[in-house]
């Protein structure tokens, strides 16, 4: 994307934007326009169904959730739909591809949508914000916007699973980075002037929804992530995924209790780092106040007011 070119996209915030991942939503809304991505929310968007919707509600009702979101998004035209949430992306993109590829499914979804006076033809493209940043914006442009480099901040880039495993359902092949050893998050970190530490667990699972419903089964997974981040000397863990951010952050006390450790590692979104690096407001734009484990180092780097 040339330097000052702007692009409009339809934004799907997802349910966590109103809860556990408000800081992702807030920081994205701050930094995206800085990088030339103007966003319009899907009007009256709904839940994506996440990874359990089809179990609770069935395959077609679950797919219809996506159908409704895309039908509403289509009202804004054919501009690309983007989301910052891994699960929202996985479901919406996957559902979209299914609707495109499967004539029968498409008809069934539209039959359901008709009950709400909606329809969707399968002519949208659903994308992840990170992919847009890599392919459309480009790391160089991110670098250009940095006014407040995060010099000295050591960041473990924890990509998580679903952000880079978007095409699981459709088999269309990866588009912006590898499934197992992606580099984009480290590239973002370095673009912001911080230091990316080596982190082999970058795509190890945090436990996902199982961690939410049954932490005992998965605490060791999070512990592994924390352990390596600590050994690597990371000041913060950066992640693009709402559920990863929440799981890795909120279970640290329980892990410490179970394993006798003393983790208190801040887990932030890459977009928060960008907001700080762009010299934007640490609270209003970077939403640092929403992290339960605050990073003193990052807080100090952040500008306030202005």
């Amino acid at each position: 994307m040339s330097d000052n070119k702007k692009v409009r996209m339809t934004y799907y915030p997802g349910c966590s934007s109103q809860g556990s991942a408000r800081h992702l939503d807030e920081s994205l809304r701050a930094v995206l326009p800085e990088m030339g991505v103007e966003i319009d929310d899907i009007a009256d968007w709904n839940c994506c169904g996440a990874s359990v919707g089809h179990i609770g509600g069935g395959q077609l009702p679950n797919l219809s959730l996506t159908g409704r979101n895309l039908a509403k998004a289509r009202e804004r035209g054919t501009q690309d739909v983007i989301t910052g949430c891994a699960a929202c992306y996985l479901n919406t993109h996957g559902g979209n591809e299914k609707i495109k590829a499967d004539v029968k499914k498409k008809a069934q979804v539209n039959e359901a949508l008709a009950a709400g006076d909606l329809k969707y033809d399968g002519d949208l493209k659903v994308r992840h914000v990170c992919e847009v940043l890599v392919n459309d914006v480009g790391v160089d442009k991110i670098k250009d916007r940095v006014k407040n480099p995060l010099t000295g901040l050591k960041v473990a880039g924890y990509v998580g699973c679903q952000t880079v495993r978007p095409f699981a359902q459709t088999q269309a092949g990866g588009e912006y980075d590898s499934y197992d050893d992606p580099n984009f998050l480290d590239d973002f970190t370095e673009a912001c002037g911080a230091t990316a530490v080596p982190f082999q667990n970058k795509t190890s699972c945090c436990g996902g929804s199982v961690a939410v419903m049954s932490p005992d089964r998965t605490l060791h997974l999070i512990k592994n992530i924390l352990e390596e981040a600590k050994e690597a000397g990371a000041d913060v863990i950066s992640t693009p995924c709402p559920l990863c951010q929440t799981n890795v952050e909120m279970y640290q006390d329980q892990i410490n209790a179970k394993y006798g450790t003393d983790y208190k590692i801040p887990v932030v979104f890459y977009s928060q780092l960008m907001a700080v690096a762009f010299g934007m407001d640490g609270d209003k734009d970077a939403a640092l106040q929403r992290n339960t484990n605050a990073s003193d180092k990052l807080d100090k780097l952040a500008k306030r007011g202005g």
Partner: protein
């Protein structure tokens, strides 16, 4: 509605594999499994599983329906998709496991570990259908409640600190749940979808 098992009660049923191919989401792709084991070897909590996806697929082929329908393997899938992206035969393992879990519940099997998943999924769907959005607070509460008052209390207390921390940071709100505006339209769509699915 899912077709009933071909020969329920039979320990080895040569028709079971066909049933899975035909009825489970992604099941037809399972036929391509060549038993390399990369899925089970990649699974984050595969050690929690009684069989793991690879062996479960082999059991399906061998017709071991009872063992498959009571396996805890589907319930321990974290949906990380690592198996899916690594599978050399492009088998959508995650989807198959997720749907097998649904089928276990639907056909009345009580698979080990699955009660939590089912309860959570039901609570989740309740919120999605009622409000069109996931209210993390209510989903969690309803989920805890599904195990009875004592368990509700126990789990709430264990996670109280987290909840309070989130409330303090504005990441868990107090008050009316967030909701779509057109709740009626959404419900109509979902109910219609369910009706279409039931007629098969």
């Amino acid at each position: 509605m899912t077709a009933p098992l071909p020969n329920p009660g039979k320990k080895y049923d040569l028709d079971f594999a066909r049933w899975v191919y035909d009825n489970v989401n992604g099941g037809d792709k399972m036929a391509l499994c060549m038993q390399c084991g990369v899925c089970s070897g990649s699974c984050p909590i595969g050690t929690n599983m009684d069989h793991g996806p690879r062996k479960l697929f082999m059991m399906i082929r061998a017709g071991m329906q009872e063992a498959v329908m009571t396996s805890n393997t589907p319930a321990n899938c974290t949906s990380c998709y690592r198996c899916v992206v690594r599978c050399p035969r492009s088998v959508p393992v995650t989807y198959i496991l997720q749907d097998l879990l649904a089928k276990q519940a639907e056909l009345g099997y009580r698979a080990k570990d699955s009660n939590e998943n089912i309860a959570f999924a039901k609570s989740f769907w309740w919120s999605a259908r009622a409000f069109g959005r996931t209210d993390e607070r209510l989903v969690t509460a309803k989920y805890y409640w599904s195990f009875g008052p004592a368990e509700f209390w126990k789990r709430s207390m264990e996670n109280l600190k987290i909840a309070l921390g989130f409330i303090k940071k504005g990441r868990m709100h107090i008050g009316m749940p967030h909701s779509v505006k057109d709740k009626k339209g959404l419900k109509a769509i979902l109910d219609k979808a369910r009706e279409i699915e039931s007629r098969g």
